[in-house]
């Protein structure tokens, strides 16, 4: 093959490698037993080269974008190459090592050999519904050390040369609450790694090892070049912002998160120095997660028009001393790590909002707003566990209102569980799922998006709820004169309608038959001075009931329209 042919062969191989990530993603989605995987798409899957450089990744959520390559690198540091064999599958969820987030997110990794040589790794990371620990659903709102949060897999073999490590499987079975689901996910994850391996090897067999490796280099370098092109259009300078996490689940707070974003001609630096020390409660995240958050912001801001690979992230630097809320050390509890992660990403976008209008929005409801509801079905004694993140309002932009009823920015393809499925599978009746028009969306020339009220009637006792609602005291910010949005909260009423409790973060709050749980998510911040709001658009909002007449009068100084 001549050289002119080679450059196009490399293009063809590059496309094939990118397609592998997508194929693996679909394979895992379709065979999983956990709703958190198949509905929330709370997983990522992909392939790296022998050294752990990310080649391709299929993502349900951006949050795992820094974890697969990190996981492979952890294994490479732990095992020498003569300890790694074809048919091995490793399992890893150590939160403080590369590839870890919280214990519920389990990374499975498989080496890919061609003619006895290690050429690549396939890896995935998925949220398993149950991994043991002190609370049902494993992640906890009030854990104070990681040992309460479930089983830890420090990068060990679950398959050795193709043979399952039965002792480990038995151990998992004995330590989790829903062993059938957990082991089902384990097998589905293992099977999907094979899909990636087969596709990768068919590329190597077809084009040969040398040119395939050359194509990988070319693919990664291409990512870097695309990023550098986009850098030319970015503003240069340094911008700072601060935000807080109100509370850590065990009564401490607020905690400060601080960032300085620097964009130069060839670097993008996120410096989180000055962030508070790690919290006693489980809202901490580790360095690997912080890198994922940084990559998410980076991809959204730089928009390189290239698939996310190692090459895309060469210009990205993340700085933060050890032992902060964002770089927690063992044994800090981390099961609600997503609160720190979302905050880290949001504060970086806040720093950039004024210089990147049209790319970055005002503050969003800003929490994954997850609940763990456990109980038993009224029709049988079967127990259930509902793990569900909730939708809320996004921040406005320079030329648009905030999106309403959307999963938290950074939650990607996470999708809601249909009401008809919720009711069939869990012991609740949904009485309302609609926009919260009582809490005003952040006013502005463009207003924030609306939050949502979810009303769940508990059909049988005993039942209890743990909740992980952040941003319950400090509202999402407006930009450029736009007003702040509203906060997230939960109210519980008994069957007579009397208020039993009002909270954001709670653990195992006891529920009785007939109780009504109202989950209310916040609205986004506005953009621009409300007095510049277009009158027709305001009238449209009133007609549609997105905002009330009173709010229009008070926030927009709008006198009642004469019809």
């Amino acid at each position: 093959m001549n050289q002119a042919m080679d450059i196009f062969t490399i293009e063809v191989i590059k496309n094939a490698l990118v397609a592998i990530g997508e194929e693996m993603f679909l394979a895992l989605k379709r065979s999983s037993k956990s709703p958190i995987i198949y509905e929330s798409l709370d997983y990522g899957i992909g392939i790296t080269d022998a050294q752990g450089r990310l080649i391709a990744q299929g993502n349900g959520i951006p949050g795992f974008i820094g974890t697969l390559d990190g996981g492979v690198q952890t294994l490479l540091a732990k095992f020498s190459t003569d300890e790694i064999y074809p048919g091995d599958v490793f399992i890893l969820n150590d939160p403080y090592a590369g590839g870890g987030t919280h214990l519920s997110d389990v990374c499975m990794i498989r080496p890919v050999f061609y003619k006895q040589q290690l050429l690549a790794w396939t890896a995935n990371k998925a949220h398993w519904t149950e991994i043991g620990g002190k609370d049902p659903g494993s992640y906890s709102a009030d854990a104070n050390e990681v040992y309460q949060e479930g089983l830890q897999f420090p990068g060990i073999k679950v398959f050795d040369r193709g043979v399952a490590n039965q002792a480990l499987l038995d151990l998992i079975e004995a330590n989790v609450r829903l062993p059938d689901m957990t082991l089902g996910d384990l097998h589905a994850c293992a099977a999907s790694l094979q899909v990636g391996e087969q596709r990768f090897l068919s590329v190597v067999e077809k084009y040969g090892q040398d040119i395939t490796l050359q194509a990988i280099d070319s693919l990664l370098d291409h990512g870097d070049r695309m990023v550098c092109e986009r850098f030319k259009a970015l503003p240069k300078g340094s911008w700072c912002a601060e935000d807080v996490i109100d509370e850590d689940g065990v009564g401490n707070g607020p905690f400060k998160v601080k960032v300085k974003v620097t964009i130069s001609d060839n670097e993008f630096i996120l410096d989180y120095s000055g962030t508070d020390a790690q919290a006693p409660g489980p809202i901490n995240c580790s360095m690997g997660v912080l890198i994922s958050a940084a990559r998410e912001v980076f991809m959204g801001v730089v928009q390189p028009d290239a698939p996310a690979t190692e090459g895309c992230f060469r210009r990205l630097k993340v700085i933060c001393p050890e032992g902060t809320l964002l770089t927690a050390k063992r044994p800090a509890p981390v099961s609600s790590y997503f609160e720190a992660m979302v905050c880290a990403a949001d504060v970086a976008r806040r720093a950039l909002a004024s210089v990147l209008p049209g790319v970055v929005t005002a503050g969003q409801f800003g929490s994954v707003c997850t609940i763990n509801l456990s109980g038993r079905l009224p029709s049988s004694d079967e127990s259930y566990l509902l793990v569900e993140p909730l939708v809320g309002g996004w921040g406005a932009g320079v030329d648009k209102h905030g999106e309403s009823g959307q999963f938290c920015v950074g939650n990607g393809e996470t999708s809601n569980i249909p009401v008809e499925i919720l009711e069939a599978r869990y012991g609740i009746r949904v009485e309302r799922y609609s926009f919260d028009t009582d809490s005003a969306a952040g006013a502005g020339e463009y207003r924030g998006g609306l939050g949502v009220v979810h009303e769940y009637r508990v059909l049988a006792a005993p039942a209890d709820i743990s909740s992980f609602f952040g941003r319950a005291e400090t509202a999402p910010w407006g930009i450029d004169g736009g007003r702040d949005g509203s906060c997230n909260r939960i109210e519980v009423y008994d069957s007579s309608g009397k208020l039993k409790g009002c909270f954001a973060r709670t653990s195992r709050f006891e529920l009785s038959e007939g109780d009504l749980i109202r989950l209310i998510t916040g609205t986004g911040g506005g953009w621009g001075d409300p007095k510049n709001r277009c009158r027709d658009s305001l009238l449209g909002d009133i007609k549609n009931g997105y905002i009330s007449q009173e709010h229009a009068e008070q926030a927009y100084n709008h006198t009642i329209a004469e019809r």
Binding site: F8, E11, R225, R429, V452
Partner: protein, 686 residues
């Protein structure tokens, strides 16, 4: 004389195909905007058909998808269960463009002020918790009338299990407001997931008046010209429907355009006894493909319009043939990205300005230009000889790409074809390998303007058993319509554990669906002896979400054997699709799916008689053709129209006809079948 006629309205042409005493004929006429029915009448006139002689008239139309994508439907309102008016706008809350902080959700087809709630409730088992308070509809009617609403969609929770409340509310509305169109979710979709069902119902209501008007006008016009019976209408599920059935549920026509070609593939496969086909349709801007296995197309209700990598689109849960579509066609533009890598598509030069060769101002090289530049398309026969291609312009366009890459113009043309082919191979893998099917067990059937040009290279790459280039590729969709039956799909969510004591329930579920099918077809004028039923279940392992479709053909055995046989088939199908079985897991049925056909009498096509193998009568010339990675070869050029049944010859060859060019690689062998189709066997695979 009893004629059978099919017409297909496309964006540019209205195709008409008819069978007269076993002979098939076709004409093309311009599509007339916005009076599509006039284009149909013109095509019939062009073919000199007397509609009074026509016994069967089938019609494919894009009127529904056009009304949706051009937002030309009517002012539509939605009534939901109390507490759920915002389900339509919240949608699934997902952000497909995962890194994008500036994502915009698709705007709902019904604004919030036209979404109203009714106090009523049914639980997840179909039990009534609260009867509907119908008097609440009075205020709603008044408001909707003031707003000028023309169609109302009703979608209540769990109506897929118990449609009673939707029926009561619909009757009330129709009674109080006879002129408004009302459509209920259970009339279109009996599957769970309230957002998808709401979206489907809303889009159905939105297109109901324009689609019904169109179908009524068509009927009137055709009948005025002498057509005695009503035309049949092509649906997205791969069957046709009576005019009345289509009027009741026009959303079922939404994808009738793209599926048309796939039907042609099924129909042609039946003619030549080919039941396993990868059908590939390469047009100007996209390539579409779909798998036919054992003569059956795959049906999905996970169909979403306007969905892209960056936006969520609008789901429509109506049965649609499962098609994978990618942005790669003849007009796809080759360009260098910011980092200097060559990419092909998804931007297309369309028909204006079109490829550089058209000389209409296009400056960027396209896939079609690459096929011209490498000599695969004969410049003398470009676009049926109607355009003299601007070869200088083509060369300049490739030269412009070649310089920054440091290669020759011809190398870039090769590169464009290879990258376009690789994109298409990836799409074909999605419908085959990714679903557990081995391409070696399938014939690749290629059509559309670009299919025959690329197919040989694709078949080689995929190791397909053989390649078939059917005749009438230009009117393939209309051809397919002539050959098919009426089809109705009944899909209903009803969860049931697949255990021995469930057999009664299973039989009952299907019996109910069959009863409904018989009654529906009876109102179409078809007696039960004309009906053919196929039974399927969508099932999954307990606890899983996604289902596998399994054909049920053993309900009359002993209970134990029946259940064992269905279970065994399920395990097998699961392994095929997902690469593993869980033999110890319980199996749960989620949906019952009945496919009912009303079988029509069809005309037999007369095949040609076989002639001697020598194809030299069709030979035009020899010409040097650049076969990309296979090098430059002196190819024999044949004229398609002169090839007869039984002729065969070997590549390198080119076969020309007015609408397309077939590229035959060196070493491949071509045989002509009795209907004019080309069967191409690749080297070592004959």
């Amino acid at each position: 004389m009893k004629l059978r006629v099919a017409t297909d309205v496309g964006g540019t042409f209205t195709d008409l195909v008819y069978i007269n005493e076993g002979e098939i004929q076709a004409v093309k006429s311009d599509t007339v905007y916005p009076n599509f029915d006039q284009g149909v009448i013109n095509a019939a006139a062009k073919a000199k058909l007397k509609l009074a002689d026509v016994s069967f008239f089938a019609h494919g139309t894009t009127v529904v998808i056009n009304a949706l994508t051009e937002r030309k439907g009517v002012k539509t309102a939605l009534i939901t269960t109390s507490g759920f008016r915002d389900v339509l706008e919240i949608a699934r809350g997902n952000t497909p463009d995962i890194f994008n902080n500036y994502y915009r959700k698709p705007e709902p087809f019904v604004p919030r002020y036209l979404r109203r709630e009714l106090s009523e409730r049914v639980d997840y088992q179909g039990q009534v918790l609260q009867p509907p308070r119908l008097e609440q509809l009075d205020d709603i009617i008044e408001d909707f009338q003031q707003e000028g609403v023309e169609a109302i969609a009703l979608c209540f929770l769990h109506a897929y299990l118990n449609p009673q409340h939707e029926q009561l509310a619909a009757n009330y509305l129709r009674d109080k407001w006879p002129t408004v169109k009302v459509i209920c979710s259970h009339e279109i979709c009996s599957e769970w997931r309230e957002y998808e069902r709401s979206s489907t119902t809303v889009l159905s209501a939105y297109v109901l008046p324009p689609a019904q008007n169109y179908l009524d006008t068509l009927k009137t016009q055709l009948s005025a010209k002498g057509l005695a019976s009503d035309p049949f209408i092509m649906q997205s599920n791969g069957g046709i429907a009576t005019l009345q059935a289509a009027k009741n549920n026009p959303i079922s026509l939404v994808e009738s355009g793209p599926v048309g070609g796939m039907l042609g593939a099924v129909a042609y496969g039946q003619l030549i006894n080919e039941a396993n086909i990868m059908a590939l349709d390469i047009g100007g801007t996209t390539a579409k493909c779909s798998l036919v296995h054992n003569g059956q197309t795959r049906i999905t209700t996970e169909y979403i319009i306007e969905k892209t990598a960056s936006t969520a689109g609008y789901p429509i849960k109506t049965p649609v043939i499962d098609i994978v579509e990618i942005g790669n066609g003849g007009g796809s533009i080759a360009h260098l990205d910011a980092a200097g890598s060559l990419r092909v598509g998804p931007e297309s030069a369309g028909s204006t300005p079109g490829p550089v060769a058209y000389g209409r101002g296009g400056k960027q090289a396209t896939t079609t230009d690459a096929n011209l530049f490498t000599g695969k398309i004969n410049p003398e026969n470009f676009a049926g000889g109607e355009i003299k291609p601007d070869m200088q312009g083509v060369e300049a366009a490739f030269q412009a790409l070649a310089e920054p890459l440091g290669v020759k113009a011809i190398d870039v043309a090769h590169g464009v074809i290879r990258i376009a082919n690789a994109n298409m191979v990836n799409a074909l893998k999605l419908i085959s390998v990714n679903r557990g099917y081995d391409p070696r067990d399938f014939a690749l059937m290629a059509f559309g303007g670009g299919g025959a040009m690329h197919a040989c290279a694709l078949a080689r790459e995929l190791n397909a058993r053989k390649l078939i280039i059917p005749p009438m590729a230009g009117v393939f969709s209309a051809f397919g319509m002539l050959m098919i039956d009426l089809r109705r799909d009944y899909i209903r969510t009803q969860r049931l554990d697949l255990k021995i004591d469930a057999l009664d329930d299973i039989q009952q579920a299907f019996a109910q669906q069959i009863k409904k099918a018989e009654s529906d077809y009876q109102s179409d004028g078809f007696s039960t002896d004309k009906l053919l039923h196929e039974l399927f279940i969508d099932a999954r392992y307990q606890g899983q979400e996604h289902t596998v479709k399994v054909k049920v053909d053993s309900l009359n055995l002993e209970p134990k054997e029946s259940i064992a046989s269905i279970s065994a088939q399920f395990h097998k199908a699961h392994e095929q699709e997902y690469s593993f079985q869980l033999p110890d897991s319980d199996i749960e049925i989620v949906n019952f799916h009945l496919v009912s056909y009303a079988i029509l009498d069809k005309a037999n096509l007369k095949g040609q008689n076989k002639v001697a193998a020598d194809a030299s009568a069709a030979l035009i010339e020899d010409r040097a053709v650049d076969y990309d990675d296979l090098g430059i070869h002196q190819a024999s050029v044949y004229q398609r129209e002169k090839l007869c049944h039984g002729m065969n010859f070997e590549g390198p060859a080119i076969i020309e006809e007015s609408t397309t060019t077939t590229v035959v690689e060196p070493g491949a062998r071509v045989e002509v079948d009795g209907f004019g189709g080309l069967h191409i066997y690749l080297e070592d695979r004959a």
